[in-house]
């Protein structure tokens, strides 16, 4: 491997790590959104009670 391969490997690894974390966040978001759509009234009562 020449030095450019190591450079590309490091930059790609960085973006794969951030991309994986973003994917985790997106999946979490869609799961919570589904839950909120299933029971919107109960959750809005919770939120208004907090505020």
């Amino acid at each position: 491997m020449n030095s450019m391969h190591y450079l590309y490997a490091a930059y790609i690894a960085t973006w794969v790590i951030h991309g994986t974390y973003l994917t985790v966040l997106v999946r979490k978001y869609s799961r919570i959104r589904k839950e909120m759509e299933r029971k919107p009234s109960a959750i809005s009562r919770q939120t208004s009670a907090r505020t």
């Binding site: 491997m1 030095s3 450019m4 190591y6 450079l7 490997a9 490091a10 930059y11 690894a13 960085t14 790590i17 951030h18 974390y21 973003l22 966040l25 979490k28 978001y29 919570i32 839950e35 909120m36 029971k39 109960a42 959750i43 009562r45 919770q46 939120t47 907090r50």
Partner: protein, 227 residues
């Protein structure tokens, strides 16, 4: 999400693209290491960002222990999680740089070992928060975070006070960094700080929503039980 969120997302995307261009094209090539030195523009800003996030986790944990504020607890959790992501980047890009420069992927050098220990401490913290269900979990996690944060100055100053294989500090450590390289380094740090802010903001909102959903579940099962 608030109105500022899409603006921050656009600014982050533009800044990251500009920082990548600066790191790969504009920054001068280092004489002894060649192009592999450009890994430094991702490795060092990621490390600084991780240290900053662990410092935020430390302050938020102390605030939680004093005030028992839910916001402080969520901020502590979010900063630790995003900090672990940036610390992972440091632990992956470091060995990729070390292989062509030192001839080895890893050595049990003080700086490297302490960084690995730091990562393990915050991964343990996240596992504790994920799998412990007791009411005292946030308090125990805050105490773990305060002790864990003690490793951050040890990691940072290890190359100042001990002989290590890791290169000397690039700023303030007597090293001579080309001003053009310093400029590119700071642009990349600014881009990573924006990315960290964006990730923390997203994760914070998700955690708040998730807690509301869990509370509604608990309330519902309580009401069903009383009927």
């Amino acid at each position: 999400m608030k109105r500022g969120f899409p603006i921050l997302a656009i600014v982050t995307a533009l800044l990251l693209s500009f920082a990548l261009y600066e790191a790969l094209i504009v920054a001068p090539t280092e004489q002894t290491m060649g192009n592999v030195q450009r890994i430094f523009y991702y490795h060092v800003p990621s490390a600084w960002t991780a240290f900053l996030l662990f410092a935020i986790n430390f302050v938020a944990s102390i605030l939680y222990l004093i005030k028992r504020s839910e916001k402080a607890d969520i901020l502590a959790l979010v900063s630790a999680e995003v900090g672990v992501v940036f610390c992972t980047v440091v632990l992956i890009t470091g060995p990729i740089w070390a292989r062509p420069v030192w001839g080895i992927w890893w050595t049990w050098d003080l700086r490297l070992t302490l960084t690995l220990v730091l990562w393990l401490i915050y991964v343990s913290y996240l596992l504790l928060r994920r799998f412990s269900t007791g009411g005292k979990t946030p308090v125990i996690a805050a105490v773990v975070a305060i002790f864990g944060a003690l490793d951050v100055p040890l990691v940072y100053f290890s190359i100042w006070f001990f002989r290590t294989q890791h290169p000397s500090p690039v700023i303030g450590g007597g090293g001579s960094l080309d001003p053009r390289m310093a400029h590119v380094l700071l642009i990349n740090w600014a881009a990573f700080l924006c990315l960290a802010w964006l990730l923390c903001w997203t994760r914070y909102e998700l955690e708040v929503a998730e807690r509301r959903v869990e509370e509604s579940h608990a309330m519902e099962s309580l009401m069903e039980g009383s009927q």
